[in-house]
């Protein structure tokens, strides 16, 4: 293979170092207007009167739009259609949008927002998971009992499993919000065209979601809504569902005023009003034999969904499927609930419902290891999934399980043998310790993915041998376009330098589902291969005709034409030219449908995902036991995501994800007062800076997947998910202080120490 496993330079690198890369706020259109949003001031209320008169009189205001002005349906379509673009009559969280104010410049629009007077009756609200479960206010959402979703797993007989266990114990865990903190805030520009069509440009993960959203809001058919992806400054799940809302804010005024409208959020607005990682409350019980075999698992967990369901049902389902961890266990009983509160709707964030349950599960394993007098490595060695094992949902794994390898590589990477010393033997104010966590992760959308489990690609070879590729999944910094160029070059036999990945445009490729779930490499990668194979057929025919050698004997590699390893005098470009002269079709549509999965809602069993990636994280920390401050010294992450396409970029994904995971575990905390976030900025919501970053050691464990493109699986989310429990287990190993809540801020550690 020429380009698989090669760390070629990012194809978008030059534009990103010289300032020419155009993010959405860098686009300007003639006579473009600017939108700002008037929002609900308290968590729940009934709108009695909205007085727009003062705002409308302000010079420069071009229009103010409320629910009644929406030309199509007042709906943000995600899984359910329960969220309006603009609140009508009742609003359900503080910060919910009520009116769009449009002006010649953003400052005037902002001033217009400040002049709107809302007369409202405040309604009783629910702000916490506990109050939602207890129904302190009934019926705050579209579903009965304040529960958006409930999923379960019923496997074996958990009561019998606990009876036959030598030890069993139950603990409670809490996890907090996490804000994506992509450096580029949300933004869209809607441009109306003649003949009542609309083009929307913007920062997003999922152009086809936005297309559906704009179609609903404008009433235009999908064919007349064109979405074009612009360079996206980070997303991490935060630009999965939210961009449909931003696009709605731009599109409503754009079609009514017939002018381009730019809607770019400011930082505080972005943090206060867009989706977050779901806070969770988890009750976790595990039972083991004396020898350390996991015999029974019972979990009950609740996600705080916020006021609308958005992506919550599938976030919850993914949490359910992964809640028991990467262990073989015959008796499992899990109930997963997503409950409504009058807070910002939560949505997708790298890991998608799993970091919460992984934190609980991996802390349980750490507690169990101590109770069983086993090392955390040995306990995992006994229970982790290997080829031939069955997952918690009874998926028999027949290939590509690199967990055991990753376990030992991550342990060696942190020098576990020498550093794992019981906390009782540690003294002094600053104490060091190591911790570990293991995880598995279903690649792609899984059995609940429905019609979205598909991807398309379009390839066109030009007469000079240059190649255009259009795909339906987006580059947001993770490097997918570079991976796609490598896959195209490998499959066609040209150089990646000749491949241009076009900006994603919904008019060019069929709905390829969302850019989420670590699915791009497998899904779009396979679609590219499918498209390339069709062209390759003609290229080989052409090469055969030109060279007189049989097709089967010809190889195309990196622009060269070879037989039996010998380079012929003709090149890729000669072959392309010949194909053009013969009028062979060097344009193709590729398609890929995800391998099959299965699921039974009554038992919670089935082949939930077509393949899984596996990770072991280890951490070394130093804890100041007087102040509770934690310094992370070392983080090791050994990850099996199949064949790496570009190892250098894969390492970059691992390093970045691991640091986000560290932030989630010990730093990042959104404070809320009366349902309103009070720290919506980077000086108060603290994400890791260079001063927080430890030594990070990424280790690639390559266990190929037969159906992946060149045996690749998925990587994007894996690095983040298990870092928090590796760190909190290391905190225990350093101090004997058990952390059951994240973020593990110093004050929490001191509180736990006192208990």
């Amino acid at each position: 293979m020429s380009f698989i496993g090669k760390s070629i330079q990012r194809i978008d690198a030059v534009s990103k170092v010289n300032g020419s890369a155009k993010f959405i706020d860098d686009y300007y259109f003639d006579s473009m207007l600017y939108a700002r949003i008037f929002r609900a001031p308290v968590p729940r209320g009934r709108i009695k009167n909205l007085d727009l008169s003062a705002a409308e009189k302000l010079a420069g205001i071009k229009g103010i739009f409320t629910a009644k002005d929406i030309p199509g349906a007042n709906i943000v379509p995600v899984v359910e259609k329960d969220q309006p673009l603009l609140a009508d009559e009742v609003f359900n969280f503080a910060g919910e949008a009520i009116a769009i104010v449009v002006a010649d410049d953003p400052d005037i629009a902002e001033e217009g927002v400040s002049l709107i007077k809302l007369d409202y009756e405040e309604l009783p609200s629910i702000l916490t998971i506990e109050d939602s479960i207890n129904k302190t206010v009934p019926d705050i959402c579209s579903k009965p009992d304040n529960i958006f979703s409930h999923y379960k797993i019923r496997k074996g007989d958990f009561e019998k499993g606990f009876k036959s266990s030598d030890i069993s114990f139950e603990e409670e865990y809490k996890t907090g919000y996490q804000e994506h903190a992509y450096l580029e805030t949300q933004g869209m520009i809607a441009v109306p065209n003649p003949e009542k069509t609309i083009t929307v440009y913007g920062s997003m993960q999922c152009p086809f979601y936005v297309q559906e959203g704009v179609s609903e809001i404008t009433g235009y058919p999908l064919s007349d809504v064109r979405i074009i992806h612009t360079t996206t400054g980070g997303a991490f799940g935060g630009k999965e569902d939210v961009p449909s809302i931003i696009a709605g804010f731009a599109s409503v005024p754009a079609v009514i005023l017939n002018k381009p409208v730019k809607m770019v959020f400011d930082r505080a607005e972005d943090i206060m009003t867009t989706s977050k990682r779901h806070p969770a409350w988890i009750k976790f019980k595990t039972g083991f034999s004396k020898a350390g075999k996991l015999l029974a698992i019972k979990v009950e967990f609740y996600f705080n969904a916020g006021a609308y369901s958005t992506l919550t049902p599938i976030v919850l389902w993914r949490g359910l499927v992964h809640a028991m961890g990467p262990y073989a266990c015959d008796n499992i009983h899990i109930d997963a609930y997503a409950v409504a509160t009058n807070t910002v709707p939560c949505g997708a964030f790298r890991g998608f419902g799993t970091p919460q349950v992984i934190f609980a599960c991996e802390t349980q394993m750490d507690i169990a290891a101590e109770k069983l007098n086993l090392s955390p490595i040995d306990l995992r060695q006994i229970n982790i999934l290997k080829v031939g094992d069955s997952t918690g949902t009874s998926h028999d794994l027949d290939e590509s399980v690199g967990l055991e390898k990753s376990l030992h590589l991550a342990a060696d990477g942190i020098d576990w043998k020498n550093k794992f010393i019981p906390p009782s033997e540690k003294t002094g104010r600053k104490r060091r310790g190591v911790g570990i966590s293991t995880l598995f992760y279903g690649v792609g959308l899984g059995a609940k993915g429905g019609m979205l489990r598909r991807a398309g690609a379009f390839i066109q070879v030009y007469r000079d041998g240059s190649v255009n590729v259009a795909v339906g999944t987006t580059e947001m910094g993770q490097g997918s376009n570079t991976v796609f160029a490598q896959l195209t070059a490998e499959a066609l036999g040209c150089s990646p330098d000749n491949v241009t990945i076009l900006p994603i445009d919904t008019s060019r490729v069929p709905d390829s589902g969302p850019t989420v779930a670590s699915r791009s490499t497998v899904m779009t990668g396979n679609a590219i291969r499918n498209a390339a194979d069709q062209i390759k057929h003609y290229l080989l025919l052409g090469a055969s005709e030109l060279s007189g050698k049989p097709e089967e004997a010809i190889e195309l590699i990196d622009g060269r034409v070879l037989t039996a390893g010998n380079e012929l005098k003709i090149s890729f470009i000669d072959v392309v030219e010949h194909c053009f002269n013969q009028r062979y079709h060097l344009t193709s549509q590729g398609w890929f449908k995800a391998p099959s999965t299965s699921w039974d809602d009554d038992t919670g069993l089935g082949n939930a995902y077509f393949i899984y990636s596996f990770v072991t994280n280890t951490a070394e920390v130093e804890v100041d036991i007087e102040t509770g401050e934690v310094e992370v010294l070392n983080l090791v992450s050994a990850e099996d995501f199949g064949q790496p396409i570009n190892p250098k970029m894969a390492e970059g994904q691992i390093e970045g994800g691991v640091i986000q995971g560290m932030g989630y575990g010990i730093m990042e905390n959104l404070y809320s007062e009366k349902g309103i976030f009070i720290n919506p900025g980077f000086s108060t919501y603290l994400i890791p800076t260079t001063m927080d970053v430890p030594l990070v050691k990424p280790i690639i464990v390559n266990e190929g997947y037969s159906k992946g493109p060149y045996k690749a699986k998925g990587l994007g989310e894996c690095p983040l998910m298990g870092v928090a429990p590796a760190i909190t287990n290391a905190i225990y190993n350093a101090t004997g202080i058990r952390v059951r809540e994240i973020p593990a801020l110093p004050e929490l550690i001191i509180k736990q120490k006192k208990e």
Partner: protein, 160 residues
């Protein structure tokens, strides 16, 4: 109130009419078209809008345009010599220090000013120097590697 200010940006002189309240960031982007200057927070907390003003790396969102009257400014657009990238830019590419790219211009310009002051930095000094520039993608590892390599390259270029 409106003022006419003089700016020299990447060697080009401008007279610009600006209102008192406007930030230098906004004038560079919206009036003069230097879109490589990025707004990440508008509050001096992320470093994405870093430019070099009279030799110092500053957050352009925290400076009023009128305060910059008469100053010389370098933005990311002015760092390379045509297609010939500056060693810092080259090393950011080489070491994989770029993912989404939104923090990159500010990160590179902070580095540029820092390496002028400290051409032979330790890793700890590099970390302190760019601690005001947030990156959410890379975990900073490859950025620190890139800066280390750029310092070496610039030093050896000078010695030649």
């Amino acid at each position: 109130m409106e003022h006419t200010i003089k700016l020299k940006v990447n060697g080009i002189s401008y007279d610009v009419r600006v209102q008192s309240k406007r930030s230098l960031l906004s004038v560079l982007r919206d009036d003069l078209g230097y879109i490589g200057v990025k707004e990440g927070c508008g509050a001096g907390e992320c470093g994405a809008c870093t430019i070099i003003m009279d030799g110092k790396a500053i957050n352009s969102c925290m400076v009023l345009a009128v305060e910059a009257d008469g100053s010389e400014i370098l933005t990311i657009e002015g760092l390379s010599d045509g297609d010939n990238l500056h060693p810092i830019q080259k090393q950011f590419i080489e070491k994989g220090a770029i993912q989404c790219g939104f923090c990159t211009p500010g990160m590179i310009l902070t580095t540029y000013e820092f390496l002028k002051r400290n051409p032979d930095p330790t890793e700890d000094e590099i970390k302190v120097a760019i601690s005001g520039n947030l990156c959410r993608c890379t975990g900073y590892v490859q950025i620190i590697e890139a800066i280390t390599a750029a310092a070496k390259e610039m030093k050896s270029n000078k010695e030649q």
